[in-house]
Symmetry: C2
């Protein structure tokens, strides 16, 4: 049995609150008693438990991770990086699946505050004013991961989504494609939606391709929705020879649609994804995709939060990690202009 | 600003340890002081924080989840079920990726104990004697999820792996296949390895198929390894018309190998997976697979742990949830005997 504060008090012949004072404010205890308590602590090998140390040091060594849904492999990769960094820095992480639901997210913020987490990793979600209000109210150190805020002074770690989308589409243009469709997230999504759309449009424009509105079809987050979006894309623009998908899951939906229609990838149509989730090398054909450094985003997010907790501030405030194109087998030279 | 114990003490004109004693052992404080403290608590709307309540009630309302690697979509699905149940029962969950590494796992058990978690969800891992020793030493309530122990009296929630594998292989036999290979996990894995192998062998035997040793190739946990295992299977047994893969990730490796060789699925070779991870409906063709109730395994695991924490024991000790075959497009009638 582990010794308790009660055992220490008994052995030292003092009250429990005296033991507590020796640990909290030793100068307030007369020396004779203090020595007895310290000897008892020594003899019993007493270690105050996490709650007690939490009360003394005001640290729980726990971080809250708010994330839409752990079942999305992109998030699972980010969390893995977070957890490894947390372990090496002496933190545990608490997982909160928000489902992008406001009420659920706010209840988690309250819960994290109540649990006295040392900080929050706010992941892949827009920072709405009411979220920010809660964060301020609880005085919680927060780092944004795979998202950022231009309105609020919150530290963040992400990639440059606009530039990454631009590079992905420029790659397809470099392969000779001229009719490039996009399966986009809703433009109301300020991270994976609008910036990737803007990158796509800039690539068309700068390479002198017709771009009034582009060939863009919108879908929500899931595979099934991307599959039917691909149907609409090829229905409206049957001469499309390449598709830029705003996520790998979208790209998998496109592959499935094309397979069903008997359209060969990459011989007839090229497909480029975004994220480089683990599954993207298990598709048929293997997916060419714009890689985010998923694990590093999580890892660096925790390191940044740790510095914020220790020092109260952190630079650079908004940090952008590099993206890189992973060339596999789903994109090939276009025949359009040859 | 939230009021602290210090504010209460100041307003009541007593010491901090008196306030603490009023909350811990009110009878030990003379009435005049006690009333002052209670009035101050009332007036300031003081709420002791989680640490303080932890010290008082010995509950952290936190559960530790030990799991091999969150990036595996099967585990991510289990955790999602756990987290939803935890939220509805008022717990938070701490994630610990063990990588099936003994040292790492034991350091997490120590960490969870030190953090005063109320219980542990020990997931998809064998309970070795030294793990059990630690669990006993820390007196931690533990529920096993997607694993069980026949040696130790630990509550568990999983499916019947032997019966599920038997049913999957019987389905292929029912389709007319006679030369059915298996990509198996190592038999040293007492959950996903040996029992699924035994189910495969029993199906061959009971249906009167040649089964001395079967056509079994072993692979470790990952996609790449399953792909090369499929190469060995078809190298050694070129007349194989169906493959039972011990996991969906293995099945994806098999699909990839067959695609590369130009062998059509399911026209020439049928493939059945195991688990029904989300990705199994995104493969080409969509995967027929033996479904585990992934989300429910996690959800029920937490409910069981909650009952164990509340009542000190729980029945049934070893619980088996039903499995079910999800028929999609990767298996078709065999032509072998027709």
């Amino acid at each position: 049995m582990k010794p308790t504060i009660r055992d220490v008090a008994k052995l030292a012949g003092v009250s429990i609150s005296t033991v507590s004072r020796v640990m909290n404010a030793p100068d307030s205890v007369v020396e004779s008693k203090r020595v007895k308590v310290l000897q008892a602590i020594e003899r019993l090998q007493y270690q105050p438990n996490a709650f007690a140390r939490g009360l003394i040091y005001k640290k729980s060594h726990t971080l809250g991770v708010l994330i839409p849904d752990i079942r999305n492999p992109y998030y699972a990769g980010v969390i893995r990086g977070m957890e490894d960094a947390a372990k090496s820095l002496g933190y545990s992480i608490i997982i909160c699946n928000t489902d992008r639901d406001k009420e659920r997210l706010i209840s988690y913020l309250e819960n994290c505050n109540e649990k006295q987490v040392d900080g929050i990793l706010f992941t892949s979600e827009t920072v709405y004013p009411d979220y920010y209000a809660e964060i301020r109210r609880f005085r919680l150190p927060v780092v944004l991961v795979s998202t950022h805020s231009l309105e609020y002074e919150l530290p963040s770690v992400k990639i440059n989504d606009e530039a990454a989308a631009y590079d992905a589409v420029s790659y397809l243009i470099g392969l000779g494609h001229r009719r490039i469709g996009m399966i986009s997230l809703p433009l109301s999504d300020p991270i994976a939606g609008l910036p990737r759309y803007q990158g796509y449009m800039r690539a068309l424009r700068e390479h002198g391709l017709p771009h009034e509105g582009g060939q863009v079809i919108y879908a929500e987050h899931w595979y099934d929705e991307a599959r039917s979006a691909a149907g609409r894309l090829f229905g409206q623009h049957p001469q499309t020879t390449a598709v830029f998908a705003a996520s790998d899951e979208f790209a998998m939906g496109v592959l499935s649609f094309l397979h069903e229609r008997g359209i060969r990838v990459p011989d007839e149509v090229s497909v480029v994804g975004f994220d480089n989730i683990r599954m993207s090398e298990m598709t048929i054909p293997q997916l060419t995709t714009m890689a985010q450094p998923v694990y590093e985003l999580g890892y660096k997010g925790v390191e940044k939060l740790h510095r914020l907790i220790e020092h109260g501030s952190v630079t650079p405030l908004r940090e952008y990690l590099p993206h890189s194109l992973i060339v596999r087998s789903s994109a090939a030279p276009g025949k359009g202009t040859q």
